[in-house]
Symmetry: C2
Subunit: 418 residues, 2 copies
Amino acid sequence: MNSIIISIGDELLIGQTVNTNATWMGKELNDIGVEVLEVLTVSDTEKAIEEALEYAGKKASLVLLTGGLGPTKDDITKKVFASYFNAPLVENKEALENVESFFLNYNRPILPINRLQALVPSGCDMLLNKVGTAPGMWMENDKAIFVSMPGVPYEMKYLMTEEVLKRVVEKFELPAIVHHTILVQGIGESYIAKEIADIEDGLPPYLKLAYLPSAGVVKLRLTGRGKNKSLLENEIKKTFEKIISRVSEYVFSELDISLEELVGEVLCDTKKTISTAESCTSGALAARITAVQGASAYFMGSIIAYSNQVKKSQLGVSESDLNNYGAVSEEVVKQMALGVKESMNTDYAISTSGIAGPGGGSEDNPVGTVWIGIATPSGVTAHQFQMGKGRNRIVEKTILAALKLVLVEVKSSFRIIN
Amino acid sequence: MNSIIISIGDELLIGQTVNTNATWMGKELNDIGVEVLEVLTVSDTEKAIEEALEYAGKKASLVLLTGGLGPTKDDITKKVFASYFNAPLVENKEALENVESFFLNYNRPILPINRLQALVPSGCDMLLNKVGTAPGMWMENDKAIFVSMPGVPYEMKYLMTEEVLKRVVEKFELPAIVHHTILVQGIGESYIAKEIADIEDGLPPYLKLAYLPSAGVVKLRLTGRGKNKSLLENEIKKTFEKIISRVSEYVFSELDISLEELVGEVLCDTKKTISTAESCTSGALAARITAVQGASAYFMGSIIAYSNQVKKSQLGVSESDLNNYGAVSEEVVKQMALGVKESMNTDYAISTSGIAGPGGGSEDNPVGTVWIGIATPSGVTAHQFQMGKGRNRIVEKTILAALKLVLVEVKSSFRIIN
């Protein structure tokens, strides 16, 4: 059982929209044991969609299409889909009732082109879309199963979760696919590879090791494919034990959880609280911390001090230090961290100030210079970084560095090596 | 001149990594007039990469590969790439010097597998990667041009910008591709289609109209392909003038700029300032506002009041109102907005409080309930929303609603219809 995802839409090819649908679908399919062979992104043209159906049907047993099911003329997937199966479009009563109730609920008049949404290829299994007007369509031929779904992410997710994944699990005996990832920090991928070369060489054919470097962290992922899930899990566990014994001082998590989840775990375990004072990250650090469910147990709040005036009035940063050292300085981030720690009455506080660019750099403080301060129950420290270029990248790297600093400070209760 | 992007990496297929590389490349290629026919994402296996090269070479004149060029064993793109061209791998002197200086700069010992990074297929045009160790490789055969690049985003971007795009522009006479997008709000795509049906039917074959609905906004995109760029631009301009005359009351921007950019423009034009007081968005709104270059001209800062304690101490929210009405209420968001407006001394202030879930909902305030407050020079108002389910989606919808409220409040100086 394997699949190809066909993502349809010019917006994906001209760089207007990121294809997050395929990412989400890939994860869900893997979780139930369906291997995703390829993702094929094509244009909204008859030729492109036809060829994609032909191509995918030859290679995979499950072909999932998203996109091109809107009511307007640029959306042609349904027409091509029906013609590929030589099936005329027929009105589906249940789908029509769904369209009508949708417009009734929103108190909007229904147009003729809205009713056309209820047409499906004859012989298709209509998948009722309770969160939109375009139904999903499940068709089978001698080659494969083909399912067409809308490209609107929450409509696609609804149909995948409520219909497609359930049906696939019921219909097929699926193999187990097990992924496990550990996080390593402070050592490059080539050095890890050298340390574990013999382990890697001795891997059985059903286990695959991957190195995924990014932002100062290398993820090591072992993937196992086979019939027996618990056997695979056990093999992966044993292999990682061997790997970890070789690079133990660099392993900072044996779970593939994000840094913000790790921070959450550490703070929950130690019953400590945190706040942030942000200049260059401007709330993005707080948003990251609270993206973790249950963050209200340890995160109290933040003061975003984008202007110097706010740094003074809300965080008590000294005007003379701002003048003497500038906003991007050791002195200022220390005062920012201490200021928010006191006013929000937290155990830890972290502060950021940097030059995200593209303007604002100087010879002493070029674009990418970031100071991070951290106040703890025992004092305050500040750390300088050079984060390179690019506004978003500087903010992202600053968030990661800040989260790591929190982990380092609370490490007495947690297995982390910087 | 058209292209296919081949993205290589299991992490893209199992949902571990979003394929942002292809999005970025699609945009850049379009900008220079290279149409992207397809994006094909494949696994790190010899068979998959070989078949992808074969497939793409038949369809496109430019095939761009990313991924699989790391030094570790899971990275096999270079080997398959060389074998596809029957070209042995040979050491490239310039690439080797680059690898050596890279390790020298970071003061790390160079390993044998790092030196292997300097091997390239014989006959290839080596593209020097000054920000990493894996060189780009440009190969041509009778079918197409093939370029292999690393998958690390900033290395790929460096090679695309400094080498690939420049060479393509020099080598080929490229057609013009012109996209223009306008933003429409408060009307569904099917109603727009009805209003402009005759305009759409009369479009010349070189113009294509697309409807992209998302989060309460419909983007209308016209794409023109041809030889004469200014002619296309003119045609698109004239067509949009006709379209806008039909739905003028719903058009809220004639540029494809984000809501946060619009907010920035409006505030700059009127020389007004803003601050935020955030509970459920927890800094994400401030981060969005400051993602716009030059935001420091109008954004002063925020108070993120995740806990009720901080709502009281930092924003002056009344304890009795918190007790009587709860944190997610009209009274509380009004006080939050007024509180931050006063303490940060801004012209406008916007506040958010809601139930992002999955826990915390009640019968009166189910998950997805969000109150947004907005304080202006003339007073304060509050607005209730039901944002549906899903933590990230609730936050995202709250950000969009908040930005729209700002635009509506400052609309006297700006052409916006709610």
